[in-house]
């Protein structure tokens, strides 16, 4: 799916390097590392906002820099750490925006679009929120809506940048569980960045750790490392 081969991540100077990693569909990865280790830059390199300093990020056989905007939007969706809601924007209208890369120039939704939206609403149990305005939701509900919008975008890759940062404990767990379920059931490659070590360990998912001494991104299988070991290499 995503092939990362001899890549240097950074803006002006190299933050970390990747020797050879392959991220697969149907898997969920937690990206962890100390603050300033380059997590966000890495995510932005995958979404194509920045290019890596060296090497190419290859998705499905072609370099991300070769994707046009629409193709990229059909391949990767993105959920930020907060969605504050927009005045007068209803949840169902917000969700419909997930179809943007798939609709024609006038943004008209067809039967397929409606089906995807409704299926996702059912999957995430959002029926009761549909008619609410995004400003009226709780933080947890809004993050859920943002995830739903990403699913509706129907991309193979979903990237979440610290999606649990502003949530309470129960909601954090809920989000991680949900994303895990989505990665397997909908066969997506999910990458979640987080600085919440315990949460990632509890969720039993693969970890992408920025090794603080080697300055390398390492893939650690779920349950392969203990918390102490993780702290020693990542923080």
């Amino acid at each position: 799916m995503i092939v990362l081969d001899k890549i240097e991540i950074g803006h002006a100077s190299v933050l970390f390097t990747i020797d050879n990693l392959q991220l697969e569909q149907g898997e969920m990865y937690a990206l962890i590392g100390a603050n300033g280790s380059g997590k966000t830059t890495f995510l932005q390199s995958i979404t194509g906002v920045y290019s890596p300093l060296k090497g190419q990020i290859v998705i499905d056989g072609s370099s991300i820099s070769k994707f046009n905007r629409i193709d990229k939007a059909k391949m990767i969706s993105f959920v930020g750490s907060t969605f504050d809601g927009v005045e007068y924007l209803k949840v169902k209208d917000y969700l419909a925006l997930g179809r943007t890369p798939h609709t024609n120039i006038f943004g008209r939704l067809n039967a397929t679009d409606f089906k995807v939206i409704n299926d996702t609403i059912k999957l995430l149990d959002l029926e009761s929120l549909q008619e609410k305005y995004t400003k009226e939701l709780s933080d947890g509900e809004r993050q859920l809506a943002a995830i739903a919008r990403a699913i509706i975008q129907e991309t193979k890759i979903i990237i979440l940048d610290e999606p649990t940062a502003f949530l309470d404990y129960a909601n954090r767990q809920k989000v991680m569980e949900l994303m895990k379920k989505i990665s397997t059931e909908l066969n997506k490659c999910v990458i979640v960045s987080s600085h919440d070590l315990e949460l990632c360990l509890e969720s039993e998912i693969d970890l992408l750790v920025v090794h603080k001494i080697e300055r390398k991104l390492r893939l650690c299988k779920a349950n392969a490392l203990t918390k102490t070991e993780l702290i020693s290499i990542g923080f």
């Binding site: 905007r69 629409i70 930020g80 007068y88 209208d93 890369p101 120039i105 006038f106 305005y133």
Partner: protein
Amino acid sequence: MGSKTNNKLVIVILVTLLPIIAFIHLSSGTISIGFSDFYSALTNFDAQSTNQLIIKEFRFPRLIMGIIAGGGLSIAGLLMQTLFNNPLAGPNILGINSGASLFVAFSLMSGVPFFSSDFGTIISALLGAFAFGLLILAFSMVVKSNVSLLLIGIMLGSFTGAFVSILQAVSNPEDLKMFIMWAMGSLQQVEFSQLPIIFIFFLIGLISCLFVVKSLNTLVLGENQALMLGIKVKYIRIFLIAITAILTGLITAFCGPIAFVGLAVPNIVKLLFKTQSHRTLLIGSLLVGSIFLLICDIFVQLVESTIHIPINAITSIIGAPFVIIIVLKRLV
């Protein structure tokens, strides 16, 4: 689904209201004109009848210009508010119409015949509005605060205002027509023969809007999210400025400044429809904007025989307190 039918109902009400207001607008004026004259002006126009001539040469162009100016400025305001993610944005406050005034002033004074033709005036107004729109866009990349951007817009306005008055001082002092238009705004300076060209440009602006509805809807989520949804934000921004320039430039060239319509109406429309669907908001702005400006102009005509109040004064009297309310609402 309830609210969607509600919104349809509101649109139906507005669509019925517009012709009623339009008829009241047509029939108000210094001379009272009977219904039969309106009927025959439509069916069997007779230039010998002074009443029918008044309908054709004054009332009708003024009505059409009211609809175009009200609707056009409101749409331009909506575009700017979404583009800059700022409820207080509008073509007037961002200084876009002053760009149009400045270029029109320059072109009329250049003495080149092309520039004093209707087409030339429109073109220079469009260029001026577009240039100032791009300038504001460039500033928006540097200043991140919404308020700072508005301040820059206001400064652009004062700067060109000063420049235009200097141009006036050195130009033909008897050309008061231009002065009145630049200073106070007027729906009455348009002639019947100019309507087709005005209408064509207005239509170009309206049709262009159809192609940005989708992008506008995603832009409310912020630029980054719009990018991730596959919107070419860079081009869309310039395209939005271009549409705003067409609408604002056209209206400024023929009516002069009409303040606050572009700012107030989109906010009223959002309150009315409670949606971010820009298809609805655009239709709503077109309708509410036209109705709003026609009502203002009916008031101007009602008192016309005793005092002449420029339309800009009326829209400002209603619009300025409205802005204060929005600001207070956001602060509290």
